[in-house]
Symmetry: C2
């Protein structure tokens, strides 16, 4: 437990990654959730995605969500894009923190974005130009950083090479996505070692050349352990989703993102501040539970915190 930081920065991804696979909920409902999330104290929120409304109907109201969040100061609101066109839309909507996702594995890249990893990585340059011309900031998220549902394990050297190339092409920060929820603590460490060797990071205790983030799903039950392993390995930016919203279209029944409240609960106990209030996250999860209309994956939401009442509806198993 040495080398633990005093602070970890959580990005709440429930409104985007969490709701993406749900049946579309109303823009007004989403705004209720966003308001509840702002009240948690979290200062980075992934608001929406600028992707094809045919492919992802739940994100068809991206411009309206962006318009709303433009009225809410004090939060670093981000939008996810998968192409230069998406970046143009996101910038046009007023957002200035843009996440551009590339898949480290070709199989997932073709399925998700209908092009190869190479082409997706090359496009970082154009996306960076669009974002930087508007005074924005570009984060490149490397999906399938550990494993691909089609291609199997991703060679850490491959992911590390993409990370280095994305920085050369203009990325301001990086995030590694455990897209299908297969990462484990040992493999987190292995990938981060490879990435730091490729991008010139000094490893534990020193500063990486750019901020490195990580994004875990709890699909095999190891997401929270992987997230804590990432913190132990020097990662200071973690994605999480209120209530554990989310899932994987390639694994029916699979659970979603790591739950924000479970991450906060763990970090609180370790004396690591997040600025996020656990009770307020549980209240936001109750809003999410009502909006999606089915039980949430979060164990903590179902059980209640230590010395806290159980917030989930009584019939959620």
């Amino acid at each position: 437990m040495t080398q633990l930081p005093s602070h970890v920065d959580i990005r709440e991804v429930g409104p985007r990654d969490g709701l993406q696979i749900e049946a579309p909920i109303s823009t007004a409902g989403k705004i209720r959730l966003l308001q509840a999330l702002v009240a948690t104290g979290v200062r980075r929120i992934e608001a929406t995605a600028f992707v094809s409304p045919r492919a992802v109907p739940a994100m068809a109201d991206a411009e309206r969500i962006a318009e709303y969040v433009g009225t809410v100061p004090g939060v670093d609101w981000s939008g996810l894009v998968a192409s230069p066109n998406g970046a143009t839309r996101a910038i046009g909507s007023g957002l200035r923190t843009i996440e551009y996702v590339v898949s480290a594995a070709d199989g997932h890249s073709w399925a998700n974005a209908r092009r190869s990893t190479q082409d997706a990585v090359d496009a970082v340059a154009e996306v960076a130009r669009i974002v930087h011309d508007a005074g924005g900031r570009l984060e490149v998220i490397i999906a399938t950083a550990w494993d691909c549902p089609f291609d199997g394990p991703t060679d850490p050297q491959r992911t590390a090479g993409i990370a280095a190339r994305a920085l050369e092409l203009g990325a301001d920060q990086l995030c590694f996505g455990d897209t299908i929820g297969t990462a484990t603590p040992a493999r987190v460490r292995r990938l981060l070692d490879a990435v730091r060797a490729a991008i010139g990071g000094p490893g534990d205790g020193g500063a990486d050349p750019v901020a490195l983030g990580a994004h875990f799903h709890n699909t095999r039950g190891t997401g929270i352990a992987s997230a804590f392993a990432a913190v132990q390995a020097g990662i200071r930016q973690l994605d999480a989703s209120v209530g554990g919203l989310g899932g994987c279209p390639f694994a029916p029944g699979a659970s979603g993102n790591i739950a924000t409240e479970e991450l906060v609960y763990l970090l609180d106990d370790a004396g690591i501040s997040t600025g996020v209030d656990l009770d307020a996250v549980l209240a936001a999860a109750a809003v999410a539970r009502e909006l999606v209309g089915h039980p949430l994956e979060s164990n903590l939401f179902r059980a209640g915190g230590r010395n806290r009442p159980r917030p989930a509806p009584a019939d959620d198993r």
Copy 2:
């Protein structure tokens, strides 16, 4: 990730802790599950509990289960007891590895065993005599080692003091129970530091004076992370339950023990051998799923392993 061991010893507790809160299933059904568990390669299995059949109807067939496991060599079969009378029953049934549970917190001790922690700890001497006179081995499990559902947080010094006293009174090994699933990695480290200060253990890297085990529930989603933190802190014996069977009678909807398959999945990736085959655990979980008749808590069972088919029935969410 330094100081990781080459081997961790898993005890499968599904047949006892897992089934304890379920509606009773037939002895024949339990034997099917035990057979599936033996096939996983696990070499320590908690077979049953010798407790009041009125209080725990699911364990009313303890003697019949003990009779069966007596015919299956190669496994260290254990039985849980909560009193000297229970120990006499367990020894009489032929078992020679006895787990005696004491609650570190008075509130839980009264609720669970209708006596104070002090009285329960004092009885270690009598239980040890019964077990040792028969040539058996006694493990003392300290329940509510971190938190009590009635009394709140348990002072680590209190748990540590009970550990030291249990050793003086004859315990051959110790296990710390996260009874209501509230532990987190930082608190695991804190408790183990306190315990080692009390029992004279040398801490990381050296040998503890007796084997120390840990038992986590995943009620707040932090069970697997806590288990791995325990391994990082030098624990070499972990309890887990096939499919994540189990739960907490004090928290409706709360999830159960950490799932054996999720623990094995994580340890496999870290190069830590367990002797337990992941596919065989998933097969055993399928047996458990059929016997209990409801979806299991294990995320990995619902999603399938990396590059493995999804073993849960199609309609398990």
